[in-house]
Structure formats: C-alpha cells, structure tokens
C-alpha cells in the first residue's frame, strides 16, 4: 500500500536502479563471464607477485629450459621465466584492451548520439566517416602508423587501437538511437517540456544500457584481437611483455615448428579464454536488452 510519506516516484528511481542491477546479477551468462575474467586477472596479478623472476630482464634465469618445478612453463632462449611473462603479459594485454575499448567506446557513443539524435547534415557527414572507417582495412593503417611512429608506447598503442575500433559499434548504436528517437515516448517527453540532452539521458540512454554494455564487451574483445595481432607481427610496444609480444618472440624463434609448446600455447589459451569470457558477457547483456528474448512478466 501507498503511504504519503513514501513518495512513489522517489522510490521508483531507486527501485529502477536496483532492478537494473538485479537483472544483471541474476543473468547467469553475465556473471559467469565476469567471474571468468576477474578470476584470470586475480590469478595473474597474485601469481606475478609471488614469482621471484623479472619478465623483461634477459638472462634473469637459465636459457631455454623445459618446464620444471622451478619454472612451470620453462624459460625462453633469452633467459626469462615464461610463467612470469604470462602473468605479467595477461594483465598488461587486458589493460591495453580495456583502455582501447574504453576510448573507442566513448568515441562511438558520442558520435552516435550527436549524429543519431540531432540528425541533419552533421549526421550525414558523421555517418559517411563511420562507414569509411568500417570499410578500410584498419590493420593496414595500424601497421602504417605503428611502423612510422617507430617507438610505440603503451598509451599510444591503446589510442591507435581505439581509433580503429570505434566505427562498427558506432554504426549499430546510431541505428539503435534512430529507432528509439522515433518512438512515441520521445514525443511525449518533448510535450512534458524536456529538451535535447535531457531527453537523451532520461529517455534514450536507459533503454540502451544493456545494449551498450554488450557492445563494450565486444569492442574490448576486438581491440584485444587487433592488439595481439599487431604485437604478433612485431609492431607492439617495445621493452615490455604482453601476450601478443610473447607470441611474437615465439614466432621469431620458430617455436611452432620446433615443438616448443610451453612457449606459445599458454598465451594462446589465455587469449581465447579472455575472448570467450567477454563474448559470454556480451551474450548475457544482449539477452537482457533484446526484447525478442525477453519473457513478458
């Protein structure tokens, strides 16, 4: 029952938020994916701190050892412990991917919102630019940029990755905003005296939250694919270790054809594991956001 002290719209704001959170927590896919990711990061962080070796310093340990109790994944021919590298690289790879994904995501949301909501000539121009970024093979440009810049730092790496990963999610978001914009409740909000940005925040964004979440996971995943790809061919940041750079070292030393499984298989598995967990999260969020799959309550 309603009591005059508990004003319904005050509680409404709170319950809406709590409800949103509950839907996310109750979704098994999202939680499973997130747990997978958090578990991996924790393992890598703790493991790295527990191991006494330096992932970057050459000659830190004996060269080219097979796996043993002391070095569970063995060591590489430059004298670095591979498990330490794996732990260190995992954290760094994920953080580069997340930073790039975050930047790309912000670019995508801003361009989609500006273009999609305000429309007109500006939108047409932004739309063409977006399509251009989708059509051109970004890797080619990435290689060009990375090669020309020469010394790639970690923030720079994130930035270049971001510049070439925002376009596709932006296109999809724009389409979503365009269809939401035509919905009747936007008209109604206007009639209630709301304008421009208020409408975007109050009426459009809440309906896009799960969708945005899903796309964030996908963008991070793409950024990490591109990241590992660039590093694999030797265009990553220098003087550090990421999963892609581990693979690059392995490839340069022909580890695939020499049967040095302990060197390249672990980073591959970690990468696939990360992609998979991000994908599961995005599927879960998609389930919440997609009205076709929603069961009417």
């Amino acid at each position: 029952m309603m009591r005059s002290s508990g004003l319904p719209w005050k509680r409404e704001r709170l319950t809406a938020r709590l409800k949103g959170l509950r839907v996310v927590v109750e979704n098994r896919k999202i939680m499973a994916g997130l747990c997978m990711l958090v578990g991996l990061i924790l393992t890598a962080e703790i493991g790295y701190r527990l191991l006494p070796y330096d992932p970057k310093k050459m000659g830190d340990v004996p060269l080219g050892l097979p796996p043993s109790w002391e070095h569970p994944l063995g060591t590489d021919p430059m004298g670095r412990d591979l498990l330490t590298q794996l732990f260190y690289g995992t954290t760094l790879s994920i953080s580069i991917g997340f930073t790039a994904g975050m930047i790309a995501f912000i670019i995508a949301v801003l361009i989609a919102l500006i273009g999609g909501y305000y429309g007109g000539t500006l939108d047409s121009i932004l739309n063409v630019v977006t399509e251009v970024f989708i059509t051109i093979p970004s890797l080619a440009i990435l290689i060009l940029v990375a090669a020309v810049v020469g010394r790639v730092t970690i923030p720079l790496m994130s930035l270049i990755l971001a510049v070439f990963s925002w376009a596709w999610p932006c296109k999809v978001m724009r389409a979503q905003i365009l269809s939401l914009k035509e919905r009747g409740f936007i008209k109604l909000a206007k009639l209630s005296g709301y304008r421009g940005i208020e409408i975007v925040i109050r009426e459009i964004m809440p309906n896009m939250l799960p969708f945005l979440g899903a796309y964030f996971a996908i963008v991070v995943s793409w950024a990490m694919i591109a990241e590992a790809g660039l590093e694999l061919i030797g265009l990553g940041p220098q003087y550090t270790i990421t999963l892609g750079i581990m693979l690059n070292w392995a490839m340069v030393h022909a580890a695939f054809t020499r049967g040095l499984v302990n060197w390249w298989i672990p980073p591959v598995i970690v990468l696939i594991y990360v992609f998979l967990s991000l994908f599961i999260v995005s599927m879960g969020l998609d389930e919440i956001g997609n009205p076709r799959l929603k069961v009417k309550g």
Binding site: M2, L7, W9, T121, S124, K187, K190, S192, G193, P206
Partner: protein, 323 residues
Amino acid sequence: MGNLLEVSNLGKIFSLGGLISKNSVTAVEDFSLEIPEDRQVIITLAGESGSGKSTIANLLLGFIKPTSGRILYRGKDVWKLKGAEWKRYRRELQAVFQDPYESLNPFYKMSHVMMGPIKKFKLSKSESEAYKLASEALLEVDLNPEEVFSKYPHQLSGGQRQRVMLARVFLTRPKILVADEPVSMLDVSLRADILKIIQNLEAKHDMSCLYITHDLSNAFCISNEIIILYLGSVMEQGNFGAVIKNSKHPYVKMLVSSIPIPNPRSRWEGRVKLQEVETARLETIVGCKFCNRCPEAMAVCREKRPPLLDLEENHKVACHLYA
C-alpha cells in the same frame, strides 16, 4: 475575442534522399485552421493514409518546422516564442497518440510519466502536492492512482494506458488537445470510454480538441466540425452533419458512402471503382489532386488547383464543380 490558435496557409515539404540527390514530397499544402479563445470546440481532422493529417499534428505540436505559412498561438508565431512563453505554449497544447504503448517508456513506471510535466512545468511546490495532483488526474480518468503508479507499461491494458495518457494531459490543464487517432488501437467495446473522457475534458475543463482520425464514425460521436483532407489538401470542411449528410466534393461523397454502417439493412449500393495503377506522383499534378480518380472530372480540374469556396454558412469545398 481573438483566436487562441490561428494557423494560416501552412505547408510542409519533406525532402528525401541524402546529401546529393534531392527528392521532395509535399505532405501538407495551404492548410488553415482557427481555434477560438472564448469557446471550446472539437474539430475533426479526417483523411486517409497519406493525407497529411499526422504531419499537421506534428507541425502544430512544434515537432517539425513548417516550410511555409504560420502558426500563431495567442497572436504570436510559435517558432519565435522564447522562455516562459514557449513553456506556456508547450504546456497548453498537449497531445495523445494512437499507440499508448509506444508513448510510454518501457524502462519506467507510470509515476515517471505523471511526474514529468509536474516537474518541468513547476505545477507543484512540494512532493506531496505533486503526488496529490497526479492522483487527482488519474482519478479523473477512472483509474486507481495507488495501483497505477507502480505499474510498468506492459502491466496495463491498452485502455488503461490510453487513460494514463489522458490523465497526463489533464495534469497540465491544456487549452488545446491534439488527439491523433486516440482510439484506433483499442478494442471497439472500450473506445466509448476514451471518447467520453475527451468530451468531458472539453465540457468541464475548457479544452478545445483537434481530433485527428481516419474513422469518421467515431469522430462523429464527439465532434461538430470536420475538415477532410486528401493528399495534403483540404477537400471539404464545415459542420460535421452537413458535410456527411450533404457532401459536395466527389471525393467526400465517395468516402462517406463507403463508410460501413453497422446495420445489415443499410448496405452499400452499387460497386466502387478501384484504381488499376498507382496515382501519378503528386508533384506532377497541377490541377485538383483528386482529378485522376474523380468520376466528374472536367478539363479545368486537370489544369487548375481548385480554391476553397464558401458554399453556405460553415461549409466550404475545394471543387471546380461549385465555382
């Protein structure tokens, strides 16, 4: 007394296509309308799909900008209104739409819809007063406020949703309600209730209404005046009864005779003729827009667009037959 709303020679041309190719469609042409300040009216704006009736609604509500003509509210051009005056126009001209489900954000409960206008138009001083206002409005449309506040759109029936929309309108005490097909999505047995609420708002709360519909039978229940549109132009307008019972324009005659009457003893007589091909593109018609389908078309009909002629008191027609 002046007119509350005065629309003169309104026109809207939509341009299609992207940056390079330009294609345009005339949606509304030379539309005029007056809503007096001193008395309340319910005017029906009727037409088939593509007649431009919804475009007119969007123009009046300020959602789109007219290509030509003016909309004066309390004597001032609405596109030049600023600050408080603009807010007043926003508050005093309200609307309900065809699909109430579409008009409700699925993310929020009903209290969100009710609180929006109260907050933005500063209708109350305190939260508890706001709650009282919202409850009153819901009671006015025969809904139980405590029950409705905490419901999501999908938890209400179509009729209930449309009532919430009308309660929201009632909150702002508008001078004019634009009702765009408010009952066409509802079941027949529930339509009368919504019509009654609209009539009640007009009679008790000094609100005029522009009732936009394709369904003349429903409009006839509550409205005395009608404007009939065809492809963006007014064909005939005036007293509802006169236009229906004594139609002048060949299009209106055809339209009225095709409206089904719920009585097997008054069935359609004869057969109506259907078009074999699509009408030519509207932009290429220089004469009367109906001339291609008109059984009584004359040479002049293809050459000149007919002006809106005064036939008798409160009955106008745009047809060369009566020139």
